[in-house]
Symmetry: C2
């Protein structure tokens, strides 16, 4: 645990820069950094962090050998060359402490119909202690926290006594390839912290995720000769229902899971996008549904994918239209392993101590039914991947918002964690 | 019935120009005259028919007082000012015969996935006696037939002894406003023939059609907290299922219908277009479904519309998501009365005689479960609206095609009908 005097210095620095931190987060939110459109934000980030003295690296997914890695996920609707990553390095002279990666994703999911937002999704409106906007909570607040945690150390007249990499990545919401790309670029450290908005809890485990697209095709006819139900939209629905039934079966089996056994229905299936047909008076010839399904620790994405294929195949047999027009399953994104942060790591203990120093009491743990990028560190690099961050509401929904009071305490917690994990020295 | 000598003159003229007629139809098919994109074809038609000596009139739906007519249908996704109509008038000096409107629509429905076509949908490929393409059958073949029927009369050294209007219209596939616009422009005649591809049958009756768009909206959440089924896509499906059940009830009642009682399920419900959601890992916040539903003679579009609204309202009450997020029903196209061509008109008798002269035997009658534009003449103008035309396959489907042998006999039949209805004189 950082000593009380150091903590006070850091707290004073966080407090002093907090208005600036809020403005920084507002700037982040004002970039509509949807998938495929993250580059302007990343260019801005590159200039900002460069101006603050970091050694900068900027590269796209096309600059790393993504295809060579077994855990790279397919990118069907996005261009790797336009997906820009940024790494800002603090390289310590004669490092004496433990190195650290601080990473956050800056891609956001679509905001949906604008009319359903109380405040415009990319305005960064602050009201009653909350900052609103798509990505404010998931996870630009965490990015602001990690950047200003480092800034607080410097503002306190200190510097980390080890290498620290501040990384902003893309593709967290669709494949994970952004985080993977930083590893393929060669970045390593003795621990990684990703400040996803966990509400000051440590993420003990996360489920895996698989994305797939159902493609139904068939021969349409004029509606005047159509019989009820023999159309691509209705056949897609039959597949969706079969997948809901499959999910129910999976959740029954998950009751025996070591980590998720006590949770009601940890495996989420979601038909998230649908599009089909061209004309109200033509029987639809095609329908596509983009889906996600989860998987619990102890199972693999490959198993989940084979099961989805089998369910679709079996359901097609029982549908008049599909039996003659077999549907396709295209895996077009996430193929993510579940990840458990095994208790007992030194990194977690240091984070828990920082949490206790700022918040008082034990750091709570949570089980997540969504993915985050820490899996790359924990599963494939052998270093603890800590997922811990600020507090907010409305991830992937309307009126997404982050609590500014919690942003401040989280920034201080991360500063304290950096100070203790890396060590600090008076800046020269 | 036209006398045998006249029929031989017409037959020789149709035969002589048939290669040209096929090329004309190919030209028509090569225009992708989808809704909103009909103007280039209409401009070409205007030049062609103008060059052949007709008095030409070209106007858009914005040039007529559409809104003033109680039977105008809403146009939600199309601009009236871009929807061009063409009328080519043969004005007889000292007319002695009966005037006639020959009308065809040149709008086509979307072609769907190109990969599902054997021949490209807008290439106009001729193979084994068929001409392929979107609209070849529905109803550009009919347009070619009516244009070359008039041409055959002229090529035979004759001219109709009454006014004849050749009209090419839009919006037949979505509202009917194109045909209505010609009436609002002031065009009238003592009979109207629309050579939809009926396979040489007279259309005795047509069902009405109503288009509507279901709009489901709701508050989405991250999939990690979603419960099964509480999403806009699944709620839209609940509405669709309720509408299928409603259609079943309507078809049971239709067993007592004077015209359609013997037909199995004359009322067709079709969910034709669906779109919803923005992200595989976000619970969809919105879903829209474009639908059509039919109605049998004896019922009105207003009754059908009120019934759809009631079904949606009732279904929403039983759905967890919709109960809190009431869906909308938007009527965005067809609001079409059913139409029965009452047997016994002189116009039909003349057409039957022409049919008998060319094909031998009685002209068969059919009941249609789709709309055509003859209703404007029969229901609101008090003149017989005859729907009779060539033969083909694949309306609104893939590999749509028209039979060239039937195109030729149909052209001759229409020429014989014109000659008998209008009378002919040797051209001066």
């Amino acid at each position: 645990m950082p000593d009380a005097i150091l903590l006070d210095r850091l707290r004073a620095a966080v407090d002093a820069a907090f208005d600036e931190e809020v403005r920084f987060l507002q700037e982040l939110v004002r970039f509509p950094s949807l998938r495929g459109a993250e580059a302007p934000l990343q260019d801005w980030m590159h200039r900002q962090l460069g101006a603050w003295g970091y050694a900068m690296d900027r590269f796209s997914l096309a600059d790393v050998p993504l295809a060579s890695h077994p855990k790279a996920a397919p990118m069907v609707d996005a261009d790797p060359a336009r997906s820009v990553q940024v790494v800002a390095a603090h390289r310590a002279a004669n490092p004496t402490g433990r190195s650290l990666i601080l990473q956050g994703h800056i891609d956001v999911v679509p905001e949906g119909p604008a009319a359903m937002w109380t405040h415009p999704p990319y305005a960064g409106v602050v009201r009653d202690g909350w900052l609103y906007g798509r990505g404010a909570h998931d996870m630009k607040a965490g990015v602001a926290a990690m950047v200003f945690a480092m800034d607080a150390i410097r503002a306190a007249g200190l510097e980390p006594a080890a290498d620290v990499y501040l990384q902003t990545v893309t593709e967290e919401e669709s494949t994970g390839n952004g985080a993977l790309a930083t590893l393929l670029r060669g970045y390593r450290a003795e621990a990684a912290l990703i400040p996803e908005p966990t509400g000051h809890t440590i993420t003990r485990a996360q489920t895996g995720t698989v994305w797939f697209r159902l493609k139904v095709r068939g021969v349409p006819v004029h509606v005047m000769v159509a019989q009820d139900g023999t159309n691509a939209i209705m056949s897609a629905y039959a597949l969706i229902q079969a997948l809901y039934a499959h999910t129910k079966t999976l959740n029954q089996a998950a009751r025996a899971n070591a980590w998720y056994g006590a949770m009601q229905d940890p495996i989420k299936f979601n038909p998230g996008i649908i599009r089909g047909g061209d004309w109200a008076s033509s029987t639809p010839a095609w329908c596509e549904v983009d889906c996600r399904i989860g998987l619990v620790p102890g199972t693999t994405p490959e198993e989940a994918m084979r099961a989805v294929e089998q369910v679709v195949k079996d359901a097609a047999r029982g549908d008049a239209f599909l039996a003659n027009n077999p549907p396709e399953v295209v895996f077009h994104g996430f193929q993510t392993d579940p990840y458990v942060l095994e208790p007992g790591s030194e990194a977690e203990a240091v984070l828990a101590a920082a949490h206790a120093a700022v918040h008082g009491g034990e750091m709570p743990a949570r089980l997540s039914t969504a993915v985050n990028d820490t899996r790359y560190y924990g599963l494939y690099m052998g270093v603890p991947g800590l997922c811990y961050g600020p507090k907010g509401e409305g991830a992937h929904g309307f009126d997404e918002r982050t609590s500014l009071a919690d942003l401040k305490t989280c920034t201080l917690t991360i500063a304290a964690f950096i100070a203790d994990w890396c060590g600090v020295r008076e800046a020269g």
